[in-house]
Structure formats: structure tokens, C-alpha cells
């Protein structure tokens, strides 16, 4: 009902493409396209009306176009049942899509230099981000990694959009052998980066955050936790995040994230409840802290 909140639509598939190790699905979804801001994701019902796989699958939005009133593209690798089913969709099939979900990437006010770091399919949300940054006059550089050449996503697009683009693969089949963090420091130096944006598996985000901190550059990370609802009601997607007030809270990555400031995510404590987190056994609940809590905005 609220104006820029998410919507749920049954939308026709415009096309399904193979891109290296990935599939890209484009759906016609004007309501989602018009609300979208980069960094947000959609969640897709899989398996049809009588499927035994109840839960939606979350995917970052890779592209939004004005065609047909507004299209949304997402991109995925086949991992299990849900993505296998999606890979079999054909144009004109209907998909039940909810979006846009989550907090978008915050954009710099000024035309600063940004380096965008992605691992595998985690690179997807960086492309609309790159466009937004370019529109604001920012310099964009890419560092994209993957297990092998066919898992480095959209190298050509990256080269086209960005000032520079550096690639790494675990097996050395493309670009530098190694990880994105092996080259990130050098890129930050050479490109005089003012900000880092990163997307990919948790260990990568942790390492990127460390490199950025080492160079005194702020970093925004987009995390990938398992999500039952994607809309903020199930509390299954929480990560420990330190707030402005210094208090660690178990926050929902779907509505309070998926984008967080890297140094606020307690990466070492992911998968645990930090002892001092709000409401954890070691938490010193002051009445002041509680008062703040009452006025904190929730999504």
C-alpha cells in the first residue's frame, strides 16, 4: 500500500538467456522496475502452485530497462531445486515476483571514485550500481572474481562501463590467479578510490572490509543470508551489526540490509549471537538504550 514499498506481481518472462555459467531471466514488471534502486533484490516463487518447495528465492536485480513499461533482469547459477526449476522457464511463462526488497546502496553525494568488488554471481547488483554512480559523475572501477573464467560475471560489460576492470580467478583461467582481495589494495591505490562497494560470499566481504579499512576507505557490503520471507517478518536472516550507538543488534538482512557499512558487520560473529548483542545474555540493557530502541525506525 505504501508508495515505494515492494509489490507482488505475476509477471511474464520476457526471455531466459545463458551467460557463461549463469542464466539471466528478464521479466516484465513495471511496478518493480519503477521503484527499484540499485542494491535491491527480488524474491521469486519457484516450482509452481503445488510445489513442495514453499519458499521464495532471493536474487539481486542485475538490470532494469524501460521496455514494455519496465523490465527487471536477474541472474543466477543453478544450485538446487529452485534455481534448476527457474532455469527451465521459457518466455511467456508467468513468475510470481516480489520486489524491490531491501535497502539500496547509499550513493555518494559528490562525484568520487568508487571501486566495485564482486565474486561470482554476487557481482550482479554492482552493474546497476555502476550505472547510478556514473550518472552522478563518479569514477567506477571494477574488481571481479570467480572460481573460473566462466564464473567471472559480465567482464565485457564491466570493461565498457568502468574506467578500469581487473579480474581474478581461483584457477588462473582468466585474469590474475587468486582472489579479489589480492588485487584490491593495488586498485584502491592506483585509482585513488574514495569508496568500496562489495557483493559476494561472507568470507569475501570480511576480507574486502579489512583491505578497505587498511586503506582508510569506507566500504558498503551486500550480504547473502538465507531468507525465508525476504520481507522482514520471519527473523531468520539476521546478522550481528553494530549500530551508530555502539550497540550490536541482530538485524534482518532482508529489510535492514542486505547493504551494510562493512565495518558495522561483526563478520567474526556471523552464525553466533555475540554475548553483548542487544537482548543477549551479556547485554547491559540500560534504560537509555531501551528508550532509543523505542524510537528507532524499523523498515
Amino acid at each position: 500500500m505504501s508508495d515505494n514499498g515492494p509489490v507482488q506481481v505475476r509477471c511474464p518472462v520476457l526471455n531466459v538467456r545463458r551467460v557463461d555459467a549463469y542464466y539471466a531471466i528478464t521479466v516484465v514488471a513495471p511496478g518493480i522496475a519503477e521503484r527499484f534502486r540499485s542494491g535491491q533484490f527480488v524474491s521469486v516463487a519457484v516450482g509452481g502452485d503445488h510445489s513442495s518447495t514453499l519458499l521464495r528465492r532471493p536474487f539481486a536485480v542485475h538490470d532494469v530497462k524501460p521496455d514494455y513499461g519496465g523490465t527487471v533482469e536477474f541472474l543466477f547459477s543453478v544450485r538446487g531445486t529452485g534455481t534448476a526449476w527457474l532455469a527451465e522457464r521459457r518466455s511467456r511463462d508467468l513468475l510470481d515476483v516480489v520486489g524491490p526488497l531491501g535497502r539500496p546502496f547509499p550513493l555518494p553525494r559528490d562525484p568520487v571514485n568508487c571501486v566495485l568488488v564482486g565474486g561470482g554471481s554476487g557481482s550482479a547488483p554492482l552493474f546497476p550500481l555502476a550505472q547510478s554512480l556514473r550518472r552522478r559523475g563518479c569514477r567506477v572501477d571494477f574488481v571481479l572474481g570467480g572460481a573460473s573464467a566462466d564464473r567471472v560475471f559480465s567482464a565485457i560489460t564491466a570493461r565498457r562501463i568502468a574506467e578500469t576492470a581487473v579480474f581474478t580467478t581461483d584457477d588462473g583461467s582468466f585474469g590474475t590467479r587468486g582472489r579479489v582481495t589480492d588485487v584490491l589494495g593495488r586498485v584502491i591505490e592506483e585509482c585513488r578510490s574514495d569508496a568500496v562497494y562489495a557483493c559476494g560470499p561472507m568470507p569475501m566481504l570480511r576480507a574486502v572490509t579489512a583491505v578497505a579499512a587498511g586503506h582508510g576507505v569506507p566500504v558498503q557490503v551486500s550480504v547473502e543470508e538465507t531468507m525465508a520471507c525476504g520481507t522482514g517478518i520471519c527473523m531468520t536472516c539476521v546478522v550481528p551489526v553494530v549500530g551508530e550507538d555502539g550497540v550490536t543488534r541482530m538485524v534482518r538482512s532482508c529489510v535492514d540490509g542486505p547493504v551494510f557499512r562493512g565495518e558495522q558487520v561483526r563478520f567474526d560473529d556471523v552464525g553466533t549471537i555475540p554475548f553483548d548483542a542487544l537482548g543477549a545474555p551479556g547485554w547491559k540493557g540500560s534504560s537509555a538504550a531501551r528508550a532509543t530502541e523505542s524510537t528507532r525506525d524499523i523498515a
Binding site: 538465507t226 520471507c229 529489510v255 552464525g271 531501551r290
Partner: protein, 311 residues
């Protein structure tokens, strides 16, 4: 034909029988993007505790056939924040509120009952009896012992303002759900909600580790619907005058019919809100259409129909 959708749970009258299940709809705020929260029977809010709780470590969920396992462990902001921030929002949108409370002692339950029932606009209190009872070793739940469950209900009933109905939320994986229901009735519960999640487990076959942290989780979703319908049927058979909110795997309007025929006066949508954020509105629409297709003029006529010969 315009069917009369109103249902009555003792003193509590709802405009229609579709409500949300505790912990599966927040306080209504997030779902309000998808439908008008005032259009459904009521919102049952996430069980609130006296103090803030951080909940359990992740991974907190795993998908299972036609269901899911979860362990959120009562994460929440505590009753103060709930009453100051969350409840007012719901009431401001015209939502009806059934407030679920969770305590870790009789004292806490009593205090919660006092605080919650003392707040204007609360339609009913639901008592989550699946909280671990600290007085038993190995974390058994209040619901595991009818006497302890009754003690909780009695405490809540005596601390809550008398005009606020108290519903006891039962677990299905107990020795005898009818015995539990009877104990709660004796302790003056005004109604019963059933069922909570059922304990289960999954192993992640990639890592060979339990799929949710801590091993055991709560199973919910359509997979458990037959267990839930069975509990509602048996309890309604034993105590036909006790109002019941049925829940467990409701996905469609037909599922509402099924629960009502088994004996429920209202029906809650839980896990399916996760997979379909418009579910409550859709289920209500489907239910209304099915009444019309059947030529049933009052929703309440369906209650207990499966117990009557030759319907």
C-alpha cells in the same frame, strides 16, 4: 449473495475468520505493503517477552518438503518497545491485535498479562505455552506438562484485565493434546490456539551438519496441516463450546474451510505469509468465494461441520 463472515470466539468478535499466526507477520507493518491490514480478522503479533531477546544463532531456517524448519528463539525488542512502538502502529491502521506473550516464569507471564491487557486496543492475549519451563531440567516446555500449562494460563488470566480474552496456544507434539486443552480450559482460558510448530530436524547433505543451528527446529507449513486439523478435530470433539483458532499450513481458502469444519472458529495463516506476502487477503477472498459457491450464508455455520453426520 453476501455471506456474513463474522465469527465469534467467546467474547471476541472478529469481522472474518482469517487472522495471522504469531511470529509470522511481525506486527503487521511489513505485510501492510501488500494488503490492508484492517481487512483481515486480526493480527496476532510475534510473541513478546518482558525483556529484549537476541534469539538464536543462524542458520535459523531450512526448507523441507511442503514446509520449513525454523529456530528464531523469540528474538524481539521486549514489551516496552512493543507497546510504545509496534502496537500503536497496528492500531493506527485500524488493525485488530491479538498479542502473543512469552514468559520464562510464571512471574514474567503475570507481568506481561498486566502490562499488555492494561494497554488500550488489545483485543486478546495469546499465551505461548511452547516456551521452555525453567523449572524442568532439559528445557521442557510449559505445554509438555498440563499442570504447568494450566498454571501459566491461570496466572495470565488472573493478572489480565477481565474483559480481555485469554487464548492458550497449544503444542501438538505433547502426550495428549485433549488433556492439555482440558487443563487450560479448567484454568479459565477463553479460547485455544493450535498448533504451534512441531519439533523436527534436517541435515544439510552438503555439509553433513544439522541444517539449523542447534539441531532441532520447529516444523511449520502445509506439511503439518494434517497434524493440526487432527488436534482441532479432537479438541472440538471433547469440548465443543471452547472457541478455537486453528492453524498449521493454511495456504488457501479451502484450508480455512477444512479447519472450520474440524472445529475452529477462526483460522491463522503462518508460514505461507513468508512465501506469499498477500496470502491473508487472498485466503480471505478464496474463503468468501467458496462460501458463496456452497451457498453458505454465515461463515460460522461451518464451525464443527465435520462432526455432524450427513453434512
Amino acid at each position: 449473495m453476501n455471506a456474513d463472515l463474522r465469527v465469534r470466539l467467546g467474547a471476541l468478535e472478529l469481522p472474518n475468520p482469517v487472522v495471522t499466526a504469531a511470529g509470522c507477520a511481525g506486527t503487521g507493518r511489513e505485510l501492510a505493503h501488500f494488503f490492508d491490514i484492517a481487512s483481515i480478522g486480526a493480527v496476532t503479533t510475534k510473541s513478546v517477552m518482558l525483556e529484549p531477546h537476541a534469539g538464536r544463532p543462524s542458520p535459523r531456517m531450512a526448507e523441507t518438503p511442503s514446509g520449513m524448519l525454523s529456530t528464531t528463539g523469540m528474538q524481539g525488542p521486549g514489551v516496552d518497545v512493543f507497546l510504545q512502538r509496534d502496537l500503536p502502529w497496528l492500531l493506527s491502521r485500524g488493525g485488530r491485535a491479538i498479542v502473543s506473550v512469552a514468559g520464562s516464569s510464571l512471574g514474567e507471564f503475570g507481568e506481561l498479562a498486566r502490562r499488555v491487557s492494561g494497554t488500550a486496543g488489545v483485543d486478546a492475549i495469546e499465551v505461548n505455552l511452547s516456551c521452555p519451563d525453567p523449572e524442568t531440567p532439559s528445557g521442557r516446555r510449559f505445554a509438555d506438562d498440563p499442570a504447568r500449562a494450566a498454571a501459566v494460563v491461570r496466572t495470565v488470566r488472573s493478572h489480565a484485565r477481565s474483559e480481555v480474552p485469554v487464548l492458550a496456544k497449544l503444542a501438538a507434539d505433547v502426550p495428549d493434546v485433549v488433556e492439555l486443552a482440558e487443563a487450560c480450559a479448567e484454568a479459565r482460558a477463553d479460547g485455544l490456539s493450535m498448533i504451534n510448530t512441531v519439533r523436527g530436524m534436517a541435515v544439510d547433505t552438503r555439509t553433513l551438519r544439522p541444517a539449523v543451528a542447534g539441531g532441532m527446529g520447529g516444523l511449520s507449513g502445509p506439511a503439518i496441516r494434517p497434524l493440526a486439523v487432527g488436534c482441532v478435530y479432537r479438541v472440538h470433539e471433547a469440548m465443543p463450546d471452547m472457541p478455537i483458532i486453528g492453524m498449521g499450513g493454511v495456504r488457501t481458502g479451502a484450508d480455512v474451510v477444512e479447519f472450520m469444519a474440524a472445529g475452529a472458529s477462526a483460522v491463522a495463516v503462518g508460514t505461507v505469509n513468508f512465501s506469499d506476502p498477500s496470502a491473508c487477503a487472498r485466503v480471505l477472498r478464496e474463503f468468501t468465494e467458496s462460501l458463496e459457491a456452497r451457498g453458505v450464508s454465515k461463515a460460522s455455520e461451518l464451525v464443527g461441520a465435520a462432526h455432524r453426520q450427513g453434512t
